[in-house]
Subunit: 131 residues, 6 copies
């Protein structure tokens, strides 16, 4: 599938190739995944996405593994299979154990379930929960 | 709003009241939030939900605060405002700082954005991401 | 809330008022709910929606109550609170008991949960399930 | 695809194999579908999911075929292709005719459409719909 | 994949074949895409969908290319990969340039992101935005 | 509702107040809407969001009104009522007529409907649609 072809290094514009190189340097691997090869069709959008992603995912008050698990959670709820695969892979690379993966899935499943119950019941937000 | 009325302690069946009491004991507060007062119309569903929630959210390989943030992430992607409010409140009670809240939101926003880009581009999963 | 004002009978165009009258006749009540009063701003869209809704929801191979519960299920997964309220109300008017409502919610919750697990695990469709 | 490999009977832990056996006995077939082979990586999550699924989907106030159609409706709205396939298959096994399948799809399509119209119009819930 | 087999011209009922012919005539191509070959199992649903689609997508106050881009936007947010592919293809056929495609994706990504931030923050609608 | 309180100009940090001022200057109005007053709790996230939003929504290959309508379409599919209200309001300010609003809603409804049909049928992407 694909609504645009994936661009090889040779096919990409210099501005896109520069992002490929930064991705390689940041991750310490020569491999550039399909998402970036598709996004390379629009070097400005690719640059803005990469620059922002680096800042958002770097160590901060939350550690990078926790951030990857949050990323997986959102991607799962949105049904983005590619994103689930890429960020589960990234989480494993950052040390996610099979047991942590199982707990991540259990929390996602629980949240999905109560999201459905709450919406089906039409529950109004408690005043106690309002900031 | 509400597709069922919220049940007070007096209106709830004994099986539902028993869950109210466990919620109070577990949380160390007399307050029982609207979700449980709505779910009390079906004591069996309420009991199954509460029993499972307790197990899923207890400390394990992931700490309870991380679990609450994953819960918020799923609930946000699903657009369940009640769940966002209740689990953001729970996360704060478990020590989430404003800085951590900001990073949680930043990761959610980033994931939503790339979920959209990936789906719009129709990117196929890299073999490297498959287990 | 509302991105357009709700139109009273007097404010609506004759083509929209004609749909109001059909809704009243079909349902045997003078009350016209907010959705139609908002949609009345575009009489052609309103007419197309009403004409199709009547056909889709009439008794067929599935009975009208089952159709209403399917409607509630979709609306819940999509987080459309208005639709959950209006079609839960319609289901009750068609005889949905509190016990059936509880089972409907239990199935919705179960489906939401396994939707999350399946997507998080990236499970591929079994050949056995393909038509 | 898959974020975890599918486990064969030999690769699964005894607790997971026990669930495989219950699935076979309950369904009267030797075939165990991919979802359970993926979930087998976390036998406790697998057990909790299976035990709950059996209770939720058994005959009650709603018949099992209606429950399967509700499951398909939720899975469709959530865009879970695997779940749509597995539960459409289950619904056919429980007697869903092509005509019923067509009506199920028509109601899903209608609900999706009015979910969009209602949200786009920002319609507020009528007092008449509140329990 | 597929929950129903795709129907060839020979396998389809006369009422479905008639829609195939209208699709060919309207689009000026002999090719009929998979969606219609699947939907052909229910000729009445197929007819209602095609008749409505033609009216909704024809030139009006919005030009057909803008309509296709809105269609892609909705389909992306709903995670419907098939729909993203078919309507991106239709948009290209109606003249969407690579630069416009890039801007479409950028707006989709931005909207997804702020959808997440707004829901995570639980922001209430400003009175100024209410009609 | 709200998971954080809205910040007045006096309560906001100088970095957030600077963004308030840019919003006022860009829009030519003194009014700053609730989203920015909530986001002001995290001035860095607020700044990144505002800077990107300005670039994405400025006139380009697509005109600003088309961009607003795409924004409304995504927000509707995601069920973000706040975003639907704010961007419908922005679209009207940029000249969207009631007739264009009606067509926008009709396309959204049509897309939602066929998204559901396609997913329910499990239709595979035609080779002809792949780039």
């Amino acid at each position: 599938m694909g609504t645009v072809p994936l661009l090889s290094d040779d096919e990409a514009a210099p501005e896109a190739r520069a992002v490929f190189d930064e991705i390689r340097a940041t991750r310490g691997t020569d491999y550039v995944n399909n998402f970036w090869r598709a996004l390379a069709h629009d070097p400005a959008l690719m640059r803005a996405t990469w620059d922002r992603l680096k800042i958002v995912m770097e160590p901060g008050e939350l550690d990078p593994l926790v951030k990857e698990m949050i990323y997986v959670a959102v991607s799962t709820a949105n049904g983005c299979s590619y994103c689930v695969h890429s960020h589960t892979s990234a989480a494993k690379a950052k040390g996610m154990t099979p047991e942590q993966h199982g707990e991540l899935l259990a929390v996602i499943g629980m949240a999905m379930q109560t999201n459905g119950l709450v919406t089906g019941l039409g529950v109004e937000v408690d005043e106690a929960f309002q900031a």
